[in-house]
Symmetry: C2
Subunit: 493 residues, 2 copies
């Protein structure tokens, strides 16, 4: 067995344990009764220790040295590149730092769950100081190992190849036109009349509607399920993708589009190359590309006129005893494209969302690079919210810098993925429209041509290409934010 | 750390992986979509290999030698005894035999799933020959390791301490009175008039009814769930017990009592000693004792007049639009105590069930001891069915010796547990009634005194005592089949 084959077998072994971790993780979030929590956490911790032991086995270093001398075809070379990347990520940090960060992160996140509601910045800041310090150490070590700057080395975990230089350019451009576009859109919508749904919309009926929409989106129910959890997510494994949603019986609008979003994640997973199962080259390319698929479903397909017509029609057939005007296409259109300046990222609409992300990016970049202190953040947050959305978060920590879970356990470098995803999605759609009659496909109810394009250009590629290569092969150019701007302008102005 | 403590830590580590295996096993049976099957099997196989590696780590031999020299208190001694028992069970067979039997068993069971429907004894027998041969080899090796006879060494896996000598005596006694009692009961019931349920009883309503009954039986929903699967079972872990049922919308009688049965298994698991979590001394005593708890719930509580009254009342409040006589206590009583000579063990009533078990016991005992050939079985089956239940299975393999899954993969020695469980349950009830007013407790709807007795005498003991010690401490004597006979006589004659 060649060294490359030994590494592949090792990766496949590891992927079996990852499979079990995914399924048990889904179970924990979707079905486990509360009393099962402690024993489950202990069992999962044991599994993670075992996986970490596998990832850091000393013989791997030799195998990689050997494998890099072997003659490999293009696909195997890409597989080796991704295997090595994963191995380096798993081995670059000293054990003590991993443990210290994990402990500090858990402590901070756990306390944050109550501190946020109490607007307790002082209490949070005390725990968070340690998380920030350890994250800065982590960034430093990653920086030395990769030759990237500190923050770029963190970005590289989630978005390999993306740099501060490229993000600064992209986001500065967005900042130059977004605030004005938001104001114009709000002004344009100000006279709109629409009917908001008012309960009761039973969870069961919402689920039946959601399943119908998933069918329209060709979710493969032989290889996946829809369930419920407090925080919706897409989990499981490519052969068995578990998406979740949360039902609010007062209204169905959010949950329904949430299902469309998670279905996008799911179809990417279901469409990954089966021949590369258990290898990192067979996995999703990056967080940003993953988000590009969920946002392609949610924003590009899901909020198109033609798809909104389907949603309105299906909702109308499922829910009875409500004002029928609620289910008119025009009303749905307004419900799903409402723009509002507000405090909370996760509730933000398509147009204001990038402002929330850019704000976080600028702050975490400077924090990880050591240019600001974590205690500077509330003031910076307030300044930037004022500047981008005209809102003050002074003394309002819970709806300001304490609103997200990401920073509580030190996931710095993740936020840009959301807006990168939105940009990639717009670019994919622009490119797809050159060869596919997207609107007719959606109108007809058979969206196959759209999914064929996504499968051919994105899903089936796994991580065989770098992100830049993937996007260039699919669209003829690397990331170009102009498509995103054009898309927003055409939808909102 | 003492050797005993090292072994305990090792056991707890192993139990974490067993936890994940249980949850993923439940997932496979209850929620996994069919397309997830292959990747899941591979992941589970990897986990089993890892668990096997843990169980057979060479240093354990030294640790056990050392630990046996250490001074341990009573509880720790019992823990060490059970740890050693598990370790020996895991190490006694050569790897090749384990693998060969697993392969032959999977092949035979898989083919059996179609062969049974086709009544294809010839086809089945070809695969099964290998399973029987390897099981005989297994029994031989276990026999040499334990000093027990071949079949007793197999019994010891499921029912430590139980022997052919004791079973022969017990079962010969049962055979001396059971056929006559069955005839008398059938004669007595022959004039009974009753109403059988006829659909539709929706799965949703059956589930709501089942949950109500589980509440009455004080199932702890903080530490467990009810779901659906093709073959009902009790799985999960003590902190998170997963029971399942299967709904037939034509009738609710079977599924409802099935839930009572699984709740008995579940409460045993939920009631195991928490201080011994992750150690074999904290686990259920044996298959027979496990079955004694499910059968205590199903037969001793569940079919008592007082409990039947609850079932009838609850069913009547859940189901509407049916003849109200269906939900009378008298009708429920008849539905739940109907005696019928029939071919299929899993559908058998309380009274004929032991005949099915004794028949299988006598055959598998002689097969494993090499006194008969597997090809003799169809004829022996027919003879014994004629003798015990007056039914012929000549040429009727699918409703004869091909009906059970147990033998297809070589689980010889398991069947006696069912009837041992029924006997223990009757004995526990007889003993409980000396100090607890069981009928009043059931009538009142607060069954706490019953569960307190079970918890004090059975559940909280885990495997600290041997089965004989456990039963003697609980009831003042070791297994005495007279209680079972008295119970059947009082219910059916």
């Amino acid at each position: 067995m060649s060294a490359f084959e030994k590494i592949k077998a090792h990766s496949q072994k590891l992927s079996h344990f990852q499979h079990l971790a995914s399924i048990c993780g889904w179970d924990q979030a979707a079905v486990m009764p509360s009393g099962g929590s402690q024993a489950r956490s202990e069992a999962m911790a044991e599994l993670y220790v075992h996986m970490h032991n596998l990832q850091t086995q000393p013989q791997l270093a030799d195998w990689f040295s050997e494998a890099e001398q072997e003659t490999l075809n293009t696909q195997d070379s890409a597989t080796l590149r991704e295997l090595k990347r994963n191995w380096q990520q798993a081995n670059v940090l000293p054990e003590e730092l991993v443990q210290a960060k994990s402990l500090a992160g858990s402590k901070c996140e756990h306390a944050w769950r109550t501190q946020r509601g109490q607007n307790d910045w002082q209490g949070f800041e005390k725990n968070w100081a340690e998380v920030v310090k350890l994250s800065q150490e982590e960034a430093q070590i990653r920086s030395e190992a990769t030759g990237l700057s500190a923050y770029d080395a963190m970005l590289d975990i989630y978005e390999p190849g993306t740099t501060t230089a490229s993000l600064d350019q992209l986001f500065n451009d967005v900042k130059s036109w977004l605030p004005e576009m938001i104001d114009e859109a709000i002004e344009k919508q100000s006279a709109d009349k629409f009917i908001e749904p008012q309960g009761k919309f039973s969870s069961e009926t919402q689920k039946a509607l959601g399943l119908d929409v998933m069918k329209l989106l060709q979710f493969d129910f032989e290889h996946g399920r829809l369930d419920e959890s407090v925080h919706p997510f897409c989990g499981g494994v490519p052969t068995d993708v578990r998406i979740t949603t949360r039902y609010d019986e007062q209204e169905f609008v959010q949950s329904l589009m949430g299902i469309v979003h998670e279905t996008g994640h799911a179809r990417y997973e279901q469409g990954l190359p089966k021949s590369l199962a258990g290898l990192p080259s067979g996995q999703a390319r990056s967080m940003g590309i993953h988000e590009s698929q969920s946002l392609f479903f949610e924003m590009q397909i899901g909020r198109s006129n033609a798809f909104i017509a389907h949603l309105a029609r299906l909702a109308g057939t499922h829910f009875h005893g409500h004002d029928t005007e609620l289910f008119s296409q025009a009303n749905f259109q307004k419900l799903y494209t409402r723009v509002k300046k507000d405090f909370i990222r996760v509730d933000a609409d398509e147009l204001t969302y990038p402002a929330h992300v850019i704000l976080r990016y600028e702050i975490e970049r400077d924090l990880i690079n050591g240019q600001i202190k974590h205690t500077d953040i509330p003031e910076l947050w307030d300044q930037k919210m004022q500047s981008y959305l005209g809102l003050s978060t002074k003394d309002n920590y819970k709806n300001g810098c304490m609103q997200d879970i990401h920073w509580t356990d030190g996931a710095f470098g993740y936020f840009p993925s959301y807006t990168l995803g939105a940009m990639y999605a717009a670019q994919f759609m622009a490119s797809m429209k050159q060869t596919v009659d997207v609107d007719s496909a959606i109108e007809s109810g058979d969206l196959t041509p759209i999914f064929t394009w996504l499968s051919d250009n994105i899903w089936s590629k796994g991580s065989l290409l770098t992100t830049d290569e993937l996007v260039k092969q699919a669209t003829g150019e690397t990331l170009n934010a102009q498509h995103f701007k054009d898309h927003l302008r055409s939808r909102y102005l």
